[in-house]
Symmetry: C2
Subunit: 348 residues, 2 copies
Amino acid sequence: MADVAERAGVSPSTVSRTLRGLTSVSPQVRTRVEEAARELNFAISRQASSLVTGRTGVMAVLVPTLDSWFMGAALSSLGPLLRGAGMEMTVYVVPDLAERAEFFERLPARRNADALLVFCFDLNKEETARLDDLGVPVIYISQHVEGRPSVYVDDVAAACRATRHLINLGHRRIAFAHTVNARGFSFSSRDRLLGYRQALTEADIPLDDDLVVTTPPRDKRGTTQAVGNLLSLREPPTAIFAEQDELAASLILSLRTVQIEVPERISVLGFDDQLMAEWLDLSTVAQSPSDMGRAAAELALELINDSDADLSQHIVLPTHLIPRGTTAPPPAPQGEREGNSPAEGRNA
Amino acid sequence: MADVAERAGVSPSTVSRTLRGLTSVSPQVRTRVEEAARELNFAISRQASSLVTGRTGVMAVLVPTLDSWFMGAALSSLGPLLRGAGMEMTVYVVPDLAERAEFFERLPARRNADALLVFCFDLNKEETARLDDLGVPVIYISQHVEGRPSVYVDDVAAACRATRHLINLGHRRIAFAHTVNARGFSFSSRDRLLGYRQALTEADIPLDDDLVVTTPPRDKRGTTQAVGNLLSLREPPTAIFAEQDELAASLILSLRTVQIEVPERISVLGFDDQLMAEWLDLSTVAQSPSDMGRAAAELALELINDSDADLSQHIVLPTHLIPRGTTAPPPAPQGEREGNSPAEGRNA
DNA sequence: TTGAAAGCGCTAACAC
DNA sequence: GTGTTAGCGCTTTCAA
């Protein structure tokens, strides 16, 4: 910077003012400085400036993985948005409990970011408290934390509506498939199961734990086995609600492998509306991770700038049921009908 | 830090030494300092320390998007590896040409990172030169840049082998499907086309531009249309080599929609071996983005520490042809046979 | 509108 | 093994 100042024949302060776009610089000086900076290929060191301003210009992002549709979409939308605000994005990938313990022990984001975006972690009280005294705003995405800024969809309601869709089609034996996650990374999954149960209860359909199956994530064999378990039940399901599209896709392919047509014999309903849902013509519940990312980033920027902004606001984004080709009425009418709620046609 | 020093009854230097894990601290003092640091919830400011050490502790990563299988896998493996080396990862998402121009204009990584990992960009000379004078090592991933450290797979050879697999099965009308990318983001795609052409030429199969189709990325309609174009050719293909699994998946579903069985009527071969390949039982060429990420990170760390390390080494990672259920011999023997190369059975 | 000087929080070189 | 001191590159008073 001293070099630039010398070359432009001004003081370092003036160079600083110019490069930060302050107005209190005469046009001629401004041109001279900018030219010198360009010639010397100069860029301000964030390290040095943040040392004095107290701002790092960094948005920290905590994610369990980047290898998922949700994270990819959410963070891709984040990047350009932050750039617009002059911020950079540093990403902490914390895939398992060991890394997680270490993260919370060392808390590397402390003093090294202006805000922290926490994605998809099911934090315990202690962890939340630890983040609280990070000294910067912490925004929770795809999870709701009491009294802290959060951005999420109402998974319970969405799953409930989705399940009702199946009920309204005439299904009464409805399975719920979810993936086992490492403990502490599965907020939405739990809520979706709640929604499923709620819909069944409302429709007076008895809950049957045999209909709730669990598979390891992204495991073809596990899915096949789950399908086998469901089919070998005395009264097998006529519909399966999968907690995620990926799982739904896997289920459909497993079912077709054993010559069970979807939706003729069994309906399958997903959650997410990611790309493969359209390809597979999969009925699903749409949510938009990029909207969530954007909302979270905007909220974070607001909290950074207004130190006295509302720290406990929750942004609940909408979901949409998208009926496609994998859900249809069950193959043969099930005997009992009496419990059917009279309202709500098929337009759940 | 001064607070910690005071609380522990030592000087700031000692605190610094302790927290950096230097050995020249007596055990008792070390315990006292660590305790004080914990009690005060103190963490070192990277900003301040990098100002004096000249190291930022940051690995910058330049990617076109995060919303893709390749990036997700590559960066997920990167995170923990960097953490192990005490580094953080800041990600620059540069999705289009406008953002790209701005990135290269401002070069925000300058002085704010110890190394830069450039993923999947097909850079021009000027851009490469601009990165050269960034002052830190720049590693190119999934692309080869002459004289610069690069990590990639041999797309030409892999595509050639893959095409030979189809030829060896008896196919002679082989289509190549690729996605249109924004100019400058499509290094591998180009190389895979080259490999395809090379294999055909070696087998004396005439190149036919009608067999090379292009679709917008992730566009169902575009795929459907491409399939339509291929099927309406006077002599339609009996096999399609898709530049990526995603595209292959989309093609298969399009084909099945119009009642064309895969592989009975048309074989489909992908590239990547991502999750959906296994699900769809898709024959494909496997590459490992996480290995590429790891190799790149290790190379970067080496270049950071050895200023005189070999700056032009290229790491070429292996690919594997994985024949699964979507490739089979063509339905009916094609008339002409004379051009067949005698070598190489079916074990391409 | 510009410059001089102080200092942000840390580390490194040197003394003890 | 520990403390003292100078200074990394910037921004920010304050004075001119």
